[in-house]
């Protein structure tokens, strides 16, 4: 109950933010929305499915390029069409990949997804007559729900209507994901993670369940990619580079992959910290890496996992750990 109230308060604060916060902070919050969506999808695969993908950034890139292409090829600059094109692109890309990748787990899954990601990167990077190569493709300012919104300048557009559009999209997609992981399908997925053989004997179609998780996470990644593309006005091949995938993994682990909202917390913290660090020092990667190392070693449950443990300790019922709805043990 407490956490539900907290969630509503947080959402209300985010909704009120444009009224009080300066424009700069709002442009920092939009990537947070985008990454939250990407990571909610990613965590279906990683946290709930136990499949660590080191190429998930390819779907983010696919989304951004789909947004760029829907303008340069179709000549349409409507955000809804961009999203639709991105979803179709993500489906076209992820269905064949999912069918192959769902056969693998562990290291092999990681290497295979990394390979696919690098394949896409080299296509985006090298075929410049199609994709603009190193300089990427321009993503125009889109119309929202068919409205031109000419009265806003660029910052006004991003911090006004676009901000709310992204926030609403995050809430809707977050709710869908919440229902998904609480559904029988979600149970099948976690069962396939914890004990694939047993799950199989109990009638869970393990491969099918994993395939679906891969496809859903790809679609979420592409939707987030469209947002990032519109925000920066650019679809950049670096979006698909393997280190970007690594950052997705990092944010998820930072927030806590065992909690539903962990990835969202991770992306918020990462974006705020990175924003501050980049202003302070050119060596921000070092500190990000150090933080990642410390979390992996000392706080494997991430921020939310740590908070949860603290709370349980306080209430003097550490034994309740065993009754957690989602067991801490994971084959991830």
């Amino acid at each position: 109950m407490m956490s539900r109230i907290l969630l509503v308060v947080c959402l209300a604060a985010l909704a009120a933010a444009p009224l009080v916060l300066p424009a700069y902070f709002l442009t920092v919050l939009i990537p947070f929305f985008a990454y939250s969506i990407i990571l909610l999808g990613f965590n279906l695969l990683f946290g709930y499915g136990g499949q660590l993908s080191f190429g998930h950034a390819m779907f983010v890139a696919a989304g951004a390029y789909a947004a760029a292409a829907s303008y340069s090829i179709l000549g349409i600059a409507s955000f809804e069409i961009m999203l639709a094109v991105a979803i179709v692109a993500a489906l076209c890309l992820s269905i064949p990949l999912a069918l192959v990748a769902s056969r693998f787990t562990g290291i092999f899954f990681g290497v295979l997804t990394l390979s696919f990601g690098m394949l896409l990167h080299s296509i985006l990077f090298k075929f410049y007559h199609l994709t603009g190569g190193e300089s990427g493709m321009r993503v125009p300012r889109p119309t929202l729900l068919g409205m031109e919104l000419d009265m806003y300048n660029k910052t006004g557009f991003l911090t006004g209507p676009f901000y709310y559009y992204c926030l609403i999209l995050l809430v809707v997609l977050g709710y869908i994901m919440w229902r998904l992981v609480r559904s029988p399908y979600g149970l099948h997925l976690t069962a396939s993670r914890d004990n694939p053989v047993k799950a199989l004997y109990l009638g869970v179609r393990v491969r099918w369940v994993r395939t679906v998780a891969f496809i859903v996470s790809a679609v979420y990644g592409a939707i987030g990619g469209v947002m990032l593309g519109v925000l920066t006005g650019l679809a950049d091949p670096e979006l698909s580079y393997w280190t970007h995938s690594g950052h997705l993994v990092f944010m998820t682990i930072l927030g806590g992959y065992q909690q539903f909202l962990g990835p969202a917390v991770g992306s918020l913290v990462m974006i705020l910290v990175q924003d501050q660090l980049m202003a302070e020092t050119q060596y921000w990667r070092f500190f990000v890496g150090l933080a990642l190392a410390l979390i992996v070693i000392a706080l494997p449950g991430g921020i939310l996992g740590g908070l949860r443990r603290l709370k349980l300790k306080k209430e003097g019922k550490a034994h309740a750990d065993a009754r957690q709805r989602r067991p801490a043990r994971s084959t991830a």
């Binding site: 660590l52 693998f104 390979s115 090298k126 990642l292």
Partner: protein
């Protein structure tokens, strides 16, 4: 015909360097079951340190024609960073493999900035030392002697590794540990010492590879993360954990990538990764790997 020899010789040079890095990756994976994403970073570290060390050695009066020895020594010295890295990784040996992968990614981020801190963001070069030995004409194609030396050295390392792993007592201990950690420990093998040895050796292979490549190119901050992409291709094609696989995989990737650069530069990485994916789909254990999924 000339074209083909050109491709083969240039490809073999690339394969030689790739082999060194991939051999380190394979050694660590074979024994410790850790995919070391930082193998590219130590390669970059080796390159930068190799430049600094060689420049220093020459300022101390090292005759220029002995510079490969300085590079080799520099690579081996900086290879000792494997020791503190293993100390850190040791903390999570009992965790799921994904977490070990993530920790090596943290090392990638840190090492990149450590290099930036000591050497700056601008690419570094060793000058034209490589041409001190002149060129040699092989099968109608001219090639710097230095490149031939690197190829020969890689072959020596490959033979040395085969001897070390196959014929020596330590090699036997390493193979036993790779087979089963618990049983080896029960037999009186100090597994944690073996891990330290393996990780340091694997790191040193990477740093030496980086140091040796530097006379023919530039050291840049991105060279590490870029190399991983190819080193991964090598180990997947060759088979995870197999030394023989590293050698064959390196030759395949080296030749293929050079062929692509000579003909259609656009498909360089693409061609390699098409093979990698094909391999993963039809024969995930690779050419010589024994580990099934």
């Amino acid at each position: 015909m000339n074209f083909l020899t050109n491709v083969i010789l240039a490809g073999l040079f690339q394969a030689a360097v790739l082999f060194l890095v991939a051999a380190g990756l394979q050694l660590i994976f074979g024994v410790q079951r850790i995919i070391n994403l930082a193998c590219g970073s130590v390669y970059a570290l080796g390159a930068y340190f190799g430049i600094t060390f060689t420049t220093w050695a020459m300022s101390q009066g090292l005759p220029p024609y002995l510079f490969p020895l300085a590079l080799l020594a520099g690579g081996l010295i900086i290879g000792l960073v494997g020791i503190p890295m293993e100390r850190v990784l040791r903390l999570i040996y009992r965790r799921p493999e994904s977490f070990q992968l993530v920790l090596t990614f943290a090392l990638v981020l840190m090492i990149q900035d450590i290099i930036r801190f000591f050497w700056g963001a601008d690419p570094k070069q060793l000058g034209s030392l490589a041409m001190i030995y002149g060129s040699v004409k092989l099968f109608g194609v001219t090639m710097p002697v230095y490149n031939v030396m690197v190829i020969v050295l890689a072959i020596i390392v490959a033979a040395g590794m085969a001897y070390f792993l196959g014929r020596t007592a330590t090699g036997k201990i390493l193979r036993a540990t790779a087979e089963n950690h618990e049983t080896s420990a029960a037999m009186g093998i100090n597994v944690s010492k073996v891990f330290l040895l393996v990780f340091t050796l694997g790191t040193a292979l990477g740093t030496v590879g980086g140091a040796l490549v530097i006379p023919t190119g530039v050291a840049s901050l991105e060279m590490g993360v870029e190399l991983i992409v190819k080193a991964f291709a090598v180990v997947v094609i060759g088979g995870l954990g197999s030394m023989k696989g590293a050698a064959v995989g390196a030759v395949i990737v080296g030749l293929l990538s050079t062929l692509a650069v000579f003909t259609y530069p656009e498909v360089d990485t693409l061609a390699i990764y098409v093979i990698v994916i094909g391999m993963l789909i039809w024969k995930p254990s690779g050419l010589y790997g024994r580990i099934a999924t």
